[in-house]
């Protein structure tokens, strides 16, 4: 099949320049004096592909995670257009889980979602290649390729994936979702690509708990890399040696 010929790229460069200029102008006007704007300095240009120099990860401090608080779940539902119902056929990208050690009586509550494994079982079993890991470590489902077989749901040790059973309408333009595909936490990839942290992390900070830290595990200067270096942290089902991107502290 013939590739369509793209009218060539001077125009594209011009566009890029004017886009950058425009966004710089917006940034300048939007920021109050004294507010530092790290995002603009660090943001990946839109036309650049993600690389494996970055590995996105998260640390959840279960000692700060509040019992009964579901702000992360609500924020996830709002950001990604989920219904918020918790029935067997409803999508849940993040759940609050309460755990208790019966021997010691120690109780913890924590959010559980896709752990963005380095060696994701869901990717191993996917027969079509729809389930994949992006270079920066985020595990995603390409719905254009997903046939809805749900092998990945069975393979995932974290029960992180959901299947969309019914037709959907009024999706968030940034988060396309539809019937017949498997889906799961994306680390809010649409936000990460413009250098914001995931919605759950933002909500947790806003609620004052600051139990979730998100960042680049490969960057020794990042909050999350410093924290996993300084404290004892746990992978859930570490015995599977999946090298999860999400780690827990205090369990």
């Amino acid at each position: 099949m013939n590739e369509p010929k793209r009218p060539e790229s001077n125009l594209e460069n011009g566009d890029r320049r004017s886009f950058l200029a425009a966004s710089a102008a917006v940034a300048g006007s939007a920021v109050a004096p004294g507010v530092l704007l790290y995002g603009i300095a660090q943001a990946k240009p839109a036309e650049e592909a993600v690389t494996d120099k970055v590995r996105w990860g998260m640390l959840v401090d279960t000692t700060k995670c509040a019992t009964g608080c579901t702000d992360c779940v609500t924020a996830c539902n709002t950001e990604n257009g989920l219904s918020g119902k918790t029935g067997p056929q409803d999508s849940q990208w993040i759940r609050k889980v309460d755990i208790k050690n019966l021997q010691t009586g120690a109780q913890h509550t924590l959010p559980m979602m896709c752990q963005h494994c380095e060696h994701p079982p869901c990717v191993d079993v996917c027969p079509t290649g729809a389930s994949f890991k992006r270079a920066d470590g985020i595990v995603l489902v390409d719905r254009h390729i997903c046939i809805g077989c749900r092998y990945c749901m069975m393979a995932c040790p974290y029960k992180a994936r959901s299947f969309v059973h019914e037709p959907l309408t009024e999706q968030n333009p940034e988060v396309p979702r539809g019937k017949g595909c498997v889906e799961s936490c994306t680390f809010c990839v649409q936000r990460v690509d413009r250098d914001q942290s995931p919605a759950c992390v933002e909500a947790c900070d806003k609620a004052g708990h600051k139990a979730m830290v998100f960042g680049d595990l490969n960057n020794p200067e990042s909050d999350v890399a410093k924290a996993v270096k300084a404290y004892a942290t746990t992978e859930v089902r570490g015995d599977l040696r999946l090298n999860t991107g999400v780690r827990y502290q205090g369990i």
Partner: protein
């Protein structure tokens, strides 16, 4: 007999050449064209003729780049198509048969399933979020100077 079949073959060749040579678009010029709502887009990212024939290839190429490589340029993105071409009446590209995408696709009888998953309406601006894309207060790439990344 052999002579007759060679004549036939020649005739078929001439016929086929005539069909191939006729530019299909001009041939259709006499027919009714679909009536469609252009939305606010008065100038597309490429010329109309190019877009008519190739928009699906551009979209497919861009979709794979965005999905797998995180390339989020807006020029060929479906979201940007919708942002410009959403009808002023319905606010959508596929709510009625006059809306931009639906008009041609129903005319040509080509089913498209983009809208099973993708939104047909542009992003609603949330209050105070007009410049959201640029207004980033803290980056996960950078250490937070307030607590120096330390945890209690």
């Amino acid at each position: 007999m052999a002579r007759l079949s060679s004549w036939l073959r020649l005739a078929a060749l001439i016929g086929a050449a005539a069909v191939l040579a006729a530019p299909s678009f001009e041939a259709a010029a006499g027919a009714d064209k679909p009536k469609l709502e252009h939305g606010k887009g008065d100038k597309c990212v490429e010329d109309t003729d190019f877009m008519r024939r190739n928009h699906m290839e551009l979209l497919k190429h861009h979709r794979d780049e965005t999905m797998h490589q995180g390339i989020r340029t807006t020029k060929y993105s479906l979201k940007q198509c919708v942002a410009c071409h959403a009808s002023e009446k319905t606010g959508s590209v596929a709510a009625t048969k006059e809306d931009f995408c639906a008009a041609c696709h129903s005319y040509a009888g080509v089913k498209l399933d983009c809208w099973d998953c993708h939104a047909t309406k542009p992003m609603a601006k949330k209050p105070g979020q007009a410049e959201a894309q640029a207004e980033v207060k803290a980056s996960p790439l950078m250490p937070n100077p307030q607590n120096g990344g330390a945890k209690q």
